[in-house]
Amino acid sequence: MITGNLKASYAADERVLDNRWKQGFVLACAAGIAALAGFGNDYVILIACQMGIMLIAVTGVNVVIGYTGLMSLGHAAFVAIGAYAVVIFHNAAAGTIPAPLLTLLALPFAVTVAALIGIVVGLPSLRVKGLYLAVATLSANFIVIFLIEQDAFARWTGGMNGINTPTANLLGWDLDSRREQFLLIAALGFVSLLAAQNLFRTRVGRAFIAIRDRDYSAEILGISLYRYKLMSFAISAAYCGLAGALYAYFYARILPEQFGLDLSLMLVAAIIVGGMGRTMGAVFGVIVIVMVPEVIKVIFGGIAGGGAELAQIRAPVQSIAFGALIVLFLLFEPFGLTQIADRALRALNRWPFARG
């Protein structure tokens, strides 16, 4: 039981995981993921891969919405840019760079491109905020998808019909099965989460939080809004770009419409359900958001054995479920599942002396 802040040195206070429970939790998670990669069946691995990709993207959204307080409804655009950057890089560099190195170079390339475009999309955040920024990012999302769909770029992007994606190859190791891809996704997801947790221990992360809490006060304290708002957009776009790159490696084909408004809303829904401004919020949110369609599938299968008519109803029911999740969490639990988890842990901690 933790009864207080009992740190004896600054080094102990500055650690990313500042107590034994957190360290134990992270190690247990790592062990759990390793076990999953070894023993999970194909279906579990598939779901876990989807969760891993979404987790990286939602962590990025969390940086900009949850920590910096800038409302963005256009993060699917960065996922799209990451995905297309990987494909274009592979196609362009296929002859010149040896295949074993391609993936190792394509991932940083995708992340960099997404971050640069993130800075461009973040430019309106210097002038406007709140609602105006939400619409500006939404517009950016529409424009990016529109440009990808254009015939003029179809030679590189495949236009409306989408484009086939390459398989990842790490130094000669072809990641052509779901299980192998899971290892890559899980490793990168794990590192991204720890990096996010670390970010908010540093000067940059704390500047973000100051901007969220009151941007003018932050500026008076000497935080350059110009610099840190753009940096926040760049970091979150980089996360989304990484997610997009993994998305491209994971699926055999990508289509521009997969990165539209629906994906943006899904990312935001995940962070609202999970809890904004908390590292674990992204984790909880992603688990819920990825499981909802699966649960609906199981329920529908249980009711009618999955007839063709029911399959038609499934998509609308799923979208109603997403909307209802956002609305219900905003109305009844605005801080999301992390808040519920906190409450439960606190009750456990104080038991049997006090509740709640």
């Binding site: 409302m71 409804l73 430019l123 309106p124 002038r127 406007v128 709140g130 609602l131 105006y132 939400a134 619409v135 500006a136 939404l138 517009s139 950016a140 529409f142 424009i143 529109f146 769909e149 009151r214 003018y216 006060s217 008076i220 408004l261 809303l265 935001v268 829904a269 609202i272 038609q312 109803i313 998509a315 609308p316 029911v317 799923q318 979208s319 109603i320 479920a321 997403f322 909307g323 209802a324 999740l325 956002i326 609305v327 905003l330 109305l331 605005p334």
Partner: protein
């Protein structure tokens, strides 16, 4: 020049419909400080209600025959000896549809008003006084709920809906060029402009309009002056959803009924921000400008480019004037 005028006129006609949709967004914002991201989906519901009452209900087995197609004897006689494309024949064809058009409009208005009231009561009111973020995100969640519900209820494919006005072709000379318009489009524009003007006049001169403006100015003062602020809220939502119903009916006759109508709301959102959230005049200018720009883009670059015109325009305007063309600047205190 002739083509330019033709496309500019087409642009003005769609700009008027943008203005009609925008008036709902502005009214809700003025009264409640909420920007409704799901407004496009309210419009989609309006279109589907119009489709239900103007097409599905008259087709039902229990509906009387005159509802489907009203043809009294005198009309049949008059129709019989008219040539193929005469304007009078188009008017008579329209009159045969008149009962179901009226039923459709009435049904769309009533159902959409109820829907708007329901949303305001159950979702928006509990969040009054909360952060802007929560309210915007709530309407974002509403997008998913509304589009899913519409797909559940109306599974049938998009079908033909009767136009609101006789669809006679109109041809006239202007600056030495021949302009070609459809009667229904012109009537749609007039309806949209009339409703826009009516609402602006209402907000300016009537008691409930003054109540809306007072609430916009200062909620608690309005309360203490005896204005029922919750009633103002629900009135604004009804206003938005009924104008949305008319706009939905018009859009349904132009583009057909489909879930894609919801996306229309986002371009109008862009227009509203461009004009300035709380200025009817600014929004009107922005709507007309975007309508014309869209039509000209369609002429010069092709139809698909027209779709992103509002978004590019709003980005440019926001970067230069963060509060839109004529919007009032928010004053923030630390």
């Amino acid at each position: 020049m002739g083509q330019f005028l033709q496309f500019a006129l087409n642009g003005l006609m769609s700009g008027a419909i943008y203005a009609l949709i925008a008036v709902g967004l502005v009214s809700v914002f003025k009264a409640t400080r909420v920007v409704n991201f799901a407004h496009g989906y309210l419009i989609m519901f309006g279109a589907y209600f119009y489709f239900t009452f103007a097409v599905l209900v008259p087709q039902a087995a229990w509906a009387p025959e005159w509802l489907q197609s009203w043809r009294p004897d005198w009309m049949v006689e008059m129709r019989a000896d008219l040539p193929m494309f005469s304007p009078l024949a188009a008017v008579l064809d329209w009159m045969a549809n008149l009962p179901r058009i009226l039923l459709g409009l009435a049904g769309a208005l009533i159902c959409n008003a109820l829907l708007g009231m329901l949303i305001e009561r159950t979702l928006m009111r509990p969040l009054m006084g909360q952060s802007v973020f929560a309210m915007i995100m709530l309407t974002v969640g509403l997008i998913s709920i509304l589009s899913g519900t519409a797909q559940l209820i109306w599974t049938s494919d998009a079908a033909f809906v009767p136009a609101l006005a006789p669809n006679t072709p109109i041809r006239f000379e202007m600056f030495g060029a021949t302009i070609f318009l459809f009667g229904a489009d012109l009537a749609n524009m007039l309806i949209a402009l009339a409703i826009f003007a009516g609402i602006v006049a209402m907000v300016r001169y009537t008691r409930s309009g003054v109540a809306i403006r007072a609430t916009a100015e200062d909620q608690s003062t309005a309360y203490s002056m005896g204005i029922s602020v919750p009633r103002v809220f629900s009135r604004a939502w009804v206003l938005a959803s009924t104008t949305g119903a008319v706009a939905g009916a018009i859009l349904a006759t132009r583009n057909g009924v489909s879930p894609a109508l919801g996306l229309f709301g986002f371009s109008v959102l862009a227009i509203v921000l461009m004009g300035g959230l709380d200025s009817y005049l600014g929004v009107f200018i922005a709507a007309m400008a975007v309508g014309v720009l869209e039509a000209l883009t369609q002429w010069q670059l092709g139809g698909e480019w027209a779709g992103i015109v509002p978004y590019v325009a709003v980005l440019i305007v926001i970067l230069i004037r963060p509060h839109g063309l004529l919007g009032s600047k928010e004053i923030e205190r630390i």
